[in-house]
């Protein structure tokens, strides 16, 4: 009986896209995406942008992506994203050629400076796209990184 209800709930959850927060059932795939709309399901940068409602994001040179041109090890690629656009509230990083392109989202608090730095994994040579939300408008910037050794999968 338990198993039946588990399957049922799992199906319902995936069908409606609802987030399963019940302590009883925690299917891993649902958990993985629970913090967001299912951005991790998007297979390409375009899809991510569509889900964000940012398809018409304008390219801006006010966003700077600081990263190495060639990354020797794709498992650790330092990437810094700086937005000089006023009123920046959100920075989304997308690694185009990863199996799950949607990589990270930073929400900048009122006092925060719109500049973040983290280390990303990259499966292969890829574009890194930074999508910035400022005053309910979206802007984006792109940068290409050559990866000589991938970081996802063995």
């Amino acid at each position: 009986m338990k198993r039946r209800s588990f399957i049922k709930t799992a199906i319902v959850a995936s069908a409606t896209g609802a987030v399963v927060t019940s302590g009883l059932i925690k299917p891993k795939t649902v958990m993985a995406a629970s913090h967001e709309k299912d951005f991790t399901k998007a297979k390409s940068t375009e899809e991510v942008m569509e889900m964000m409602g940012a398809s018409d994001a304008a390219e801006s040179d006010m966003i700077k992506i600081k990263s190495p041109e060639i990354a020797e090890n794709g498992a650790v690629v330092p990437v810094g994203i700086t937005s000089e656009i006023e009123g920046t509230t959100e920075i989304v990083a997308v690694v185009s050629n990863n199996p799950i392109p949607y990589a990270a989202r930073y929400t900048v608090g009122a006092k925060g400076k719109a500049a973040v730095k983290s280390r990303f994994k990259m499966a292969k040579t890829t574009d890194v796209v930074a999508i910035v939300k400022a005053d309910d408008k979206y802007y984006m910037a792109k940068s290409n990184i050559k990866v000589t050794k991938g970081g996802c999968g063995g």
Binding site: M31, A103, K113, A115, V116, S118, F120, M122, G151
Partner: protein
């Protein structure tokens, strides 16, 4: 846990507080396989919240695309007397947090 998973360094410079942090975490994507060919289940941090005096200054929502033992660095307009608190949560429900005063090691 005997030792914190978080390393936190903060520095004040011209009214900006720079926050740098290293978190010890495997950050499995859920796509990799072990030697037997079984998938290693996804295990990654999906939320990092940094608060200054209880007010959130930066929230990061991460996925498996962030490297193992993640590093984060940013700055915000703050004061030397601020207390910084960093909290992370991962997709298996684990979490940890660390509180520190600006400039303290």
């Amino acid at each position: 846990m005997a030792k914190s998973t978080i390393k936190l360094r903060t520095k004040e410079k011209k009214g900006l507080i720079q926050v740098k942090s290293l978190i010890t975490h495997p950050m499995h994507t859920g796509l990799r396989r072990n030697k037997k060919g079984d998938k290693i289940p996804a295990h990654f941090i999906n939320e990092v919240v940094v608060e200054a005096n209880g007010e959130p200054v930066m929230t990061a929502n991460w996925t498996g695309a962030i490297s193992k033992n993640p590093f984060i660095s940013f700055s915000y307009a703050g004061d030397k007397s601020d207390t910084i608190k960093l909290t992370w949560k991962d997709n298996t429900g684990k979490s940890d947090s660390l509180e520190k005063q600006v400039g303290k090691k």
